[in-house]
């Protein structure tokens, strides 16, 4: 083994167990919970350039101390790649697969009246970044005081990552993705885990980096919302209203869960509902749009629309729209 590279488990499968993570040091010693990881950080953040034959992506053990206490133990998480290899400069997808203790839940991209969504961050190697996050259809949790959106059971969030250009072919990358979450039942706990994935780099055109997703990954993709066109969903901004229309059988229930966009507030929210009549349904959600001085580019707003027909069958699709920037505001003067 190259010093500082996390050892592959014999099972070839990661199952982070919170504080059970163990790091094998250069000499094979078990550094355990409070190992001296600081000395290894510079090495950890560098791509692993290995001369060994390329293998399929392999989940690897993260450093022990990155597994925080409390909410970490309630939520297991692993990384599942879409394909067997990546290409330098290309985009690729991985799923962060959660397994949440029964009775507890984490939150969707818009948590609703309270909560906060999990975060996802590529810690290393340098140059890799998350460019898109696709969330599964959430559950709606309602109490007399609030409505929140989240996930229980075993949700999987799909991350699109961009690889830096210039990574040599035939090397392997030790990817480290950190996720932090708020997990709640009657009370809430924070959890955090660093997840590892060792993935080979291949030349453009290599079949291992393209083609159909793995079977497990394809199952995860099926749990994501459809594109708006798949259900005939149309959305437009009309003044201060977001207008959403969708064809649906009479009596179908339509529900809009807006995404969270900085500076855009929906009233009253957090959900908007309608019942289909004459073969279609329409929802008008009133917004207040304020400038976002810290926006780094054009803003988009969007939402998830679920159509549940009278038989109980449901389809969900999402849409995004550019945010019309407000005029005559301090930020725009």
């Amino acid at each position: 083994m190259v010093p500082g590279v996390f050892e592959r488990r014999e099972t070839g499968r990661i199952m982070p167990g919170g504080r059970d993570f163990r790091h094998r040091g250069p000499h094979g010693g078990d550094r355990g919970h409070n190992g001296d990881m600081l000395n290894l950080l510079p090495i950890m953040l560098v791509p692993a350039l290995l001369a060994e034959p390329l293998e399929a992506p392999t989940p690897v053990d993260p450093p022990a101390e990155t597994a925080a206490k409390d909410g970490t133990a309630l939520v297991k998480s692993t990384v599942l790649p879409e394909r067997d290899a990546i290409v330098a400069g290309g985009e690729f997808r991985v799923a962060v697969c959660f397994r949440i203790e029964p009775g507890w839940h984490i939150y969707w991209r818009n948590s609703g009246d309270s909560g906060m969504p999990p975060s996802f961050r590529v810690v290393g190697p340098e140059g890799f970044a998350v460019t898109r996050v696709d969330w599964p259809v959430p559950e709606v949790f309602t109490t007399p005081d609030e409505t929140t959106f989240g996930h229980s059971g075993d949700p999987a969030v799909v991350l699109t990552l961009k690889a830096p250009a210039g990574i040599p072919v035939s090397t392997r990358i030790d990817l480290r993705i950190e996720s932090e979450w708020l997990v709640c039942k009657e009370s809430c706990l924070m959890g955090r885990r660093m997840m590892g994935l060792r993935v080979p780099v291949v030349a453009p055109g290599d079949g291992r980096a393209q083609g159909p997703a793995s079977r497990d990954f394809a199952t995860i993709l099926k749990r994501l919302p459809l594109d708006s066109g798949a259900i005939g969903l149309a959305a437009a901004i009309e003044g201060n209203d977001l207008r959403v229309t969708v064809p649906a059988a009479d009596g179908s229930r339509i529900r809009l869960l807006p995404f969270e966009t900085r500076g855009v507030r929906f009233r009253p929210g957090p959900t908007f509902e309608a019942v289909a009549k004459d073969g279609k349904a329409e929802i008008r959600a009133t917004m207040k749009i304020e400038p976002d001085p810290s926006a780094e580019g054009p803003r988009t707003l969007g939402g998830l629309v679920t159509v549940t027909d009278p038989t109980g069958s449901a389809k969900s699709a999402e849409f995004t729209l550019p945010v019309p920037e407000p005029a005559n505001t301090p930020a725009s003067r």
């Binding site: 009246d113 706990l189 009253p268 207040k288 505001t329 930020a331």
Partner: protein, 214 residues
């Protein structure tokens, strides 16, 4: 708020208030609002007065801070998000940032999480442990929290020296860390500059306020 009509009225009040009536509402008056006001807090409108007991058993009324900028932060010592913003210095920086702009500003912590007696009981110790010498109020029946629409801990409100609620929402935009904007300090800064506070409302993040059930 379930009917369209009511929703429209509420929106008209809230939105028009933010855009036009910023800081023009009458300040809360203790004599007019003994105990709890009946109205709901709305950005752009006069902040409803209230009186609560501090962890030391003293009475504290919003009207006591008449003429000063007031920041209300809903807290819960048992919420890890609250603990995080306290421990990582976010609250201290918010306090110092506001005091730089309004030296006599009053920063108040409110705990409405009465569903957990341990939360209320631990409030004083929590403030001491984080060296925050602030009024810490116990909203045992949740009436003030509900009047202000407090949803999360933390959930922050900024009230102008004239008594107008000018901001309601998250303490900053760093739900997952790495905040770029502290909304509370931003509100104080814009208020001082005579600008419309923008954003006047944001979605707060954190644990739900554990209101007393029933």
């Amino acid at each position: 708020m379930k009917s369209t009509l009511l929703a429209s009225l509420a929106l008209a009040v809230a939105f028009t208030g933010v855009a036009i009536a910023q800081d023009t509402a009458k300040p809360a008056d203790k004599k007019e609002h003994a105990g709890h006001s009946h109205g709901k807090a709305e950005v752009g409108q006069a902040a409803p007065n209230f009186t609560l007991k501090t962890v030391d058993g003293k009475e504290w009324s919003l009207s006591d801070a008449k003429g000063k900028l007031v920041v209300l932060e809903w807290i819960n010592p048992e919420c890890p998000v609250c603990v995080r913003v306290m421990s990582d210095g976010t609250v201290a920086k918010t306090l110092s940032g506001v005091k730089e702009i309004y030296p006599d500003a009053v920063y108040v912590a409110v705990n409405s999480s009465a569903a957990r007696q341990s939360s209320l009981d631990g409030t004083g110790e929590y403030m001491k442990a984080h060296k925050m010498d602030l009024p810490a109020l116990l909203d045992s029946d949740g009436a003030v929290g509900k009047m202000y629409g407090a949803k999360t801990t933390p959930h922050c409100y900024v009230i102008s020296p004239a008594g107008t609620l000018v901001y309601a929402g998250a303490i900053d935009d760093g739900a997952n860390g790495g905040a770029k904007m502290n909304y509370v300090v931003n509100a104080a800064k814009q208020l001082k500059a005579g600008e419309t506070v923008s954003p006047g409302e944001t979605k707060p993040y954190g644990c739900s306020v554990k209101y007393k059930k029933g």
